[in-house]
């Protein structure tokens, strides 16, 4: 990667070369393409360079998000809003290339990702509306998983993809309870290897966590808990805990 005097990252490779590196890595992972160790290493270098180019725009988007969110989010444990960023792991970039064969690496929008937390749906929506009004905030796409939760898992959040310096950055906006749920799924997946995130987990476990997400959403919305959802959730509790090895008590 080269960094020009302006601090704007410049790809050492063309977008076409980046896409080809992604395609070749995918092919190698699927045993469809033979690569020598040297060739594989060269492709990985191109991909790492592409990822590293996201660091500067990611930093700017993260700082911008913190600035805008500050006005609306009341989640401020240290007097400042909770906003953080991460650069996607190479392994999860590779996983995504395999999982989504139509995804060209140069169009992967979550290599740089930000996250912001809110106390309520209302705070989050007002912040989204504010961001939509900002002329310097170049929104490419908004995915509203609050209005339309992921049907398999029940995941909720608002994802906003923005463009900065020619790179795509994904912002995940979540309420505290949506975030706690998503982190619980991360932990459960890592501990059990069940693949809740990837929708590979056993049906009863998947349904249990989906119902849990629904119940948390009812609390977020200030609604009464739906008795039928509650009944099904409680009915699944014991068998799911047993499946999880009795280690998870929540």
């Amino acid at each position: 990667m080269m960094v020009a005097m302006t601090g704007t990252p410049q790809l050492a490779h063309s977008k076409e070369r980046v896409k080809r590196a992604g395609d070749r890595l995918r092919g190698w992972l699927l045993n469809e393409v033979d690569l020598t160790e040297v060739e594989l290493s060269a492709e990985l270098d191109v991909i790492e360079d592409f990822r590293a180019c996201h660091a500067a725009p990611l930093t700017r988007v993260g700082a911008g998000l913190r600035y805008y969110v500050e006005r609306y989010s009341t989640v401020k444990p240290e007097g400042r809003p909770v906003v953080a960023q991460r650069l996607k792991r190479m392994r999860t970039i590779a996983d995504k290339l395999v999982r989504e064969p139509g995804m060209g690496l140069s169009r992967m929008y979550d290599i740089g990702g930000c996250r912001a937390l809110f106390a309520s749906i209302d705070e989050m929506r007002r912040s989204v509306a504010d961001l939509e009004r900002q002329r310097r905030w170049d929104i490419v796409r908004i995915r509203d998983y609050v209005e339309n939760p992921r049907p398999d898992s029940g995941y909720r959040a608002i994802h906003m993809i923005v463009r900065k310096d020619g790179f795509l950055i994904e912002c995940q906006l979540r309420t505290v309870s949506q975030h706690a749920w998503a982190e619980l799924i991360e932990r459960t997946d890592r501990r059990t290897g069940m693949g809740l995130k990837a929708a590979r987990a056993p049906a009863d476990v998947t349904e249990y966590y989906r119902l849990g997400a629904d119940l948390l959403a009812q609390l977020d919305a200030g609604d009464e808990r739906d008795p039928e959802t509650l009944r099904r959730f409680q009915a699944l509790h014991a068998q799911v805990q047993q499946r999880l090895g009795g280690k998870e008590t929540s």
């Binding site: 960094v3 790492e48 990822r51 590293a52 660091a55 500067a56 990611l58 930093t59 993260g62 700082a63 913190r66 600035y67 500050e70 444990p77 240290e78 007097g79 400042r80 909770v82 906003v83 953080a84 960023q85 991460r86 650069l87 792991r89 190479m90 996250r115 937390l117 309870s177 975030h179 706690a180 749920w181 982190e183 619980l184 991360e186 932990r187 890592r190 849990g212 119940l215 948390l216 808990r225 509650l230 959730f233 409680q234 509790h237 014991a238 805990q241 998870e248 008590t249 929540s250």
Partner: protein, 86 residues
């Protein structure tokens, strides 16, 4: 007040659940370079997760990436289970 971004490399051992971290202050170039190096060193070890994160403080990372710090959310579903047999 906004503090400048700070970068942290998290190195998490899935099996022992031990987390190490390295700090880079605001030097994201140094952080990104180190990220690639550490990741490369662990490329074949399934049980090690390496991730580069940034925020105004390490405390913020503990909230936004809590799964590296806390074993479980004991009480997340607690109030849905009152009266349930388990």
């Amino acid at each position: 007040m906004n503090l400048p971004e700070q970068y942290f490399l998290l190195i998490y051992d899935v099996n022992s659940r031990a987390l190490q971290h390295e700090e880079f202050g605001g030097d994201y170039m140094a952080a990104a370079t180190r990220y690639s190096d550490v990741e490369e060193a662990h490329r074949d070890s399934e049980g090690i997760e390496v991730v580069l994160v940034g925020a105004d403080s390490f405390e913020t990372i503990k909230r936004t990436h809590s799964h590296y710090f806390i074993e479980r959310d004991e009480d997340l579903f607690h109030e849905f289970l009152n009266g349930a047999t388990s």
